[in-house]
């Protein structure tokens, strides 16, 4: 069996940033396991710009952003294996991996960082009635076909769901000469970033129909048309509102699901809200020495936040293998309520906490001129007005260790949205 200090599962933005941070923190034997043929993860197919505004103060394309980190990994001489699938992770951090070159082998890891990313919700999981012809793709699959393989799925496109990949693909398909007829979104708000709605739909005159869904799919061999209908406030289609669109392509951008099959098999405890691991202030799961970051932990809106989170996971994993991380103890619980859906992390041990701790969360609806409030037990300690908050954009509050230390015996921190 091989031995490494830290094994990182996934060589996308999260895995790369975690690796660099762990090396900067002085860890020697680090191994990144990547299933694809190159490092960079999904960023490699995100050829549009807009990445890195926070991290690098400039607009990069996905591959450029990834390369900033790949360069660092190469410069630091961090080991990585490509075309390698992790088949299993055990409770005691034995990682089983497989590739053409190396066969199947096991690695004993001092610490494991989960950075497997997420997948798209497929048509089947959406229970859209109708036929099952060719021409229906999750938006990311179509993105790969167009941007990596160089093939067009079709010419007349309808998009269901307004997640960011769907919005980006609306523009991409248009630039490639396809006609994007409409984007339908089940919810009364978009699941994507405001800037993407403006730059990818509005600028190209593509209509976005909120509170609409696909109610029928036609075409026995290849897609020929879809029918869209308005939905009521329970998401049920309203009879009489049907509109038929002839099309040869239906793209689905209806949510991302953290890919945690390996984590689950290892015994990592999951949050039913995020579908990602439940982690403490160190981004450590319930299994000591197993950390998580990036979209496998919770789906992010911006890669900059992924990198920042991964940096912390890498630093904490480094502390863990060097024996500098005291035993995990959840002395403070963070509770999300009243419009805040979840928080990452969900517990804090003050002893292990950095001077500043970023707590990220998402809201469950659109809030205008509302407040993000933080309570230490029953006392409100933070009350920040936000002009607008939406489910498609991640929110954050920053907790200071000093402030927490002023409240000995603090048991519960509550994050909520308040009208006033």
């Amino acid at each position: 069996m091989l031995n490494y200090d830290i094994v990182i599962v996934g060589g996308g933005p999260a895995g790369l940033a975690a690796a660099v941070a762990a090396r900067d923190a002085g860890v020697d034997k680090i191994l990144i396991l990547e299933r694809d043929k190159e490092l960079g993860g999904i960023l490699n197919q995100c050829i549009h710009n807009g990445f890195g505004l926070h991290t690098f103060k400039e607009e990069l394309t996905g591959p450029e952003y990834a390369y900033r980190f790949i360069e660092k990994v190469l410069a630091a001489d961090i080991e990585y294996k490509l075309n390698t699938m992790v088949m299993d992770i055990s409770k005691d951090r034995v990682v089983t991996a497989m590739s053409k070159e190396d066969g199947m082998y096991q690695i004993k890891a001092g610490a494991v960082i989960l950075a497997m990313g997420c997948r798209e919700r497929p048509r089947g999981a959406l229970n859209i009635p109708g036929y099952r012809p060719a021409g229906i793709f999750s938006a990311g699959t179509a993105q790969r076909l167009v941007n990596i393989e160089g093939y067009m799925p079709g010419r007349e496109v309808v998009i269901l769901g307004s997640g960011d990949i769907g919005l980006i693909m609306a523009r991409r398909m248009t630039l490639e000469g396809a006609k994007v007829k409409v984007v339908a979104e089940l919810m009364p708000y978009s699941g994507g970033l405001k800037r993407n709605i403006v730059q990818c739909l509005d600028d190209f005159g593509i209509p976005l129909k909120l509170s609409h869904t696909v109610v029928d799919i036609e075409g026995k061999e290849h897609l020929t048309a879809v029918t869209i209908a308005a939905v009521d406030n329970k998401g049920k289609p309203i009879p009489g509102t049907e509109e038929r669109y002839t099309c040869d392509t239906l793209l689905l951008s209806c949510g991302l699901i953290p890919e945690n099959e390996l984590s689950r098999n290892a015994g990592v405890e999951m949050s039913p809200i995020t579908s990602g691991p439940i982690v403490n202030e160190s981004l450590e799961t319930n299994i000591p020495g197993v950390f998580a970051c990036g979209n496998v932990l919770h789906v992010h809106d911006l890669v900059d936040y992924v990198s920042e989170e991964a940096l912390r996971a890498g630093q904490n994993a480094a502390k863990y293998v060097k024996g500098q991380l005291s035993e995990a103890k959840a002395d403070i619980e963070i509770v999300a309520t009243d419009g805040a859906r979840y928080t990452v992390p969900s517990t804090i041990n003050i002893g292990r906490m950095d001077d500043k701790l970023t707590v990220r969360f998402r809201v469950g609806a659109v809030y205008k001129d509302s407040y993000v409030s933080v309570y230490f037990d029953d006392e409100r300690v933070m009350h920040n007005k936000k002009r607008i908050m939406a489910p498609g954009e991640m929110e954050q509050v920053i907790l200071l260790k000093d402030k927490l230390a002023e409240k000995p015996g603090l048991k519960k921190i509550t994050v909520k949205i308040e009208n006033e």
Partner: protein, 483 residues
């Protein structure tokens, strides 16, 4: 000219082809789709019924029980996943308990072994997730689950290895008796001539029967919607759970599949379109409601796909198997709805025996009765797997991450007899693309393998033949035009 032409490469036609391949006979199977297993066999409950449903004395009952008994051996010989998980018919109304006794009595008369009526407590002990309303159940330990794709494909592959030809994308348009006394089958791919025709055309069997016989039959496509759930919840029940049967069939069942998913369905709606495999909102809503009657806490948020299949329902609700009275040498195998999959080994044997008698066929000396499925590396130890990868590195390259399917398995699926040519063909043979992401990640990679192994242009690669191509053309950049 062929001795026998079989119309249809579903499980009936393929079973007949395999049984017939035991004899010195020149046979060919014509299939209108691009692959095996494209009709009724593609979308059904994947159940091997015990045999207590069909009326006593019916051909359905006889072949069901026979087929059930044959299933162990044929699945062993052909390396097909099959499990006797046992089935339960659940009664949720006290006043309907008599119905269980009726089924039990019928089962005994049909020759079903080891049937037992269970009390509420006994039923709950076997299956804790049964509805709180359960009053009793009929337990049939001989009930089982099988992979219908693999059974169909294995039978056909084995028939092919033993000399039966298969013609895909070949749709029979007309059948007539020539002056030569032979059957002439006009197809989109030229004319086929045969001494004998076997009509195993599923929902189209009436069409072909009625071309040659004055005594018309009528088959109604009876649509059934299904939901397939993630393997994560595949053990919600371990037996196949049926409601009590009604006139329209056996009702909405909840069952584990032999691959570890959970399957819920089917509905039963009579339609006119023989290709009408669209699901409907009403259908899905209906089956969810009905399934919840008998099984509690169904994790329906874990649905990974829904689909619809068509049963070939003949008006008399009976298998019609035998030589057509007014059409000599034309053998019907019609009305094969549930329990057709369970009965398929017996159907094959029955039709092959009939032909053997009529034609005086002799057994082949060198018939090969067994076949190995595509290797399943997940069953190997790490050492064995490493040996395999050393010999063939493609087995070390995982293509479908949800089901852990390697490139080696996909290449095998393409190059074995009657190999896959489409994404669905690969999916049915290997399960690549059948998992929770439904091909989102692996379909571009699988396309690359098809392109390489079959020399097919990307634009010609299909989901399931015909016009089901995945991509239409190069992007601007790749075409060398303006970017």
């Amino acid at each position: 000219m062929y001795d026998v032409v079989i119309i249809g490469a579903g499980v009936s036609g393929s079973s007949i082809a395999r049984e017939l391949s035991r004899y010195n006979v020149n046979a060919c199977v014509l299939e209108k789709c691009e692959d095996l297993c494209e009709g009724t066999t593609k979308a059904n409950s994947a159940i091997v019924h015990a045999g207590f449903d069909a009326p006593e004395g019916s051909l359905m009952a006889k072949l069901n029980v026979q087929g059930n008994e044959m299933m162990d051996q044929i699945c062993k010989d052909l390396d097909v996943p099959f499990k006797r998980n046992g089935s339960l018919v659940v009664c949720i109304h006290k006043e309907a308990l008599d119905g269980l006794k009726e089924l039990y009595d019928r089962g005994i008369k049909n020759g079903v072994k080891n049937l037992k009526i269970l009390s509420r407590e006994e039923a709950l002990e076997l299956e804790p997730n049964l509805s709180d309303n359960v009053e009793g159940a009929l337990y049939a330990p001989t009930g089982g689950i099988v992979c219908p794709f693999k059974l169909n494909i294995a039978m056909a592959e084995n028939a092919n290895v033993n000399g039966v030809e298969f013609r895909f994308n070949t749709e029979v348009e007309d059948i007539s008796k020539g002056q030569d006394g032979l059957w002439h089958l006009r197809t989109n791919n030229g004319e086929y001539v045969a001494k004998y025709v076997v009509n195993a055309a599923g929902v189209y069997a009436d069409k072909f029967h009625n071309m040659v016989s004055a005594k018309k039959i009528h088959i109604t496509p009876r649509r059934g919607d299904y939901c397939l759930l993630d393997k994560e919840v595949g053990n919600h029940v371990t037996h196949t759970i049926f409601p009590q049967p009604t006139k329209l069939g056996k009702g909405v069942l909840v069952t584990p599949t032999v691959h570890g998913n959970l399957l819920v369905g089917p509905t039963a709606v009579d339609i006119s379109d023989k290709e009408g495999t669209n699901t409907t909102k009403e259908g899905i809503d209906d089956l969810i409601e009905k399934a919840n009657d008998h099984v509690k806490n169904l994790p329906l948020r874990k649905v990974i796909t829904s689909f619809a299949g068509l049963r070939a329902h003949e008006d008399g609700q009976e298998f019609i198997i035998g030589e057509v009275e007014d059409a000599e040498c034309f053998i019907d195998c019609a009305g094969i709805e549930s329990p057709g999959l369970s009965a398929s080994p017996a159907i094959g044997e029955m039709v092959a025996n009939l032909l053997k008698e009529k034609m005086g066929l002799e057994e082949k000396q060198n018939w090969i009765g067994t076949r190995k499925d595509i290797l399943n590396p997940a069953e190997l130890s790490i050492e064995e797997r490493n040996e395999l990868i050393k010999k063939n590195p493609a087995y070390g390259n995982i293509i479908c991450r949800c089901e852990s399917i390697s490139e080696g398995e996909i290449i095998d699926a393409i190059h074995r007899p009657l190999g896959a040519r489409s994404l669905d063909g690969i999916k049915r043979r290997t399960r690549a693309g059948m998992g929770r992401c439904q091909g989102g990640f692996c379909s571009p990679k699988t396309m690359e393998i098809i392109h390489r192994e079959l020399g097919l242009d990307y634009e010609k690669i299909t989901k399931s033949g015909g016009r089901s191509n995945i991509v239409i053309e190069r992007t601007k950049n790749q075409k060398g035009g303006e970017a």
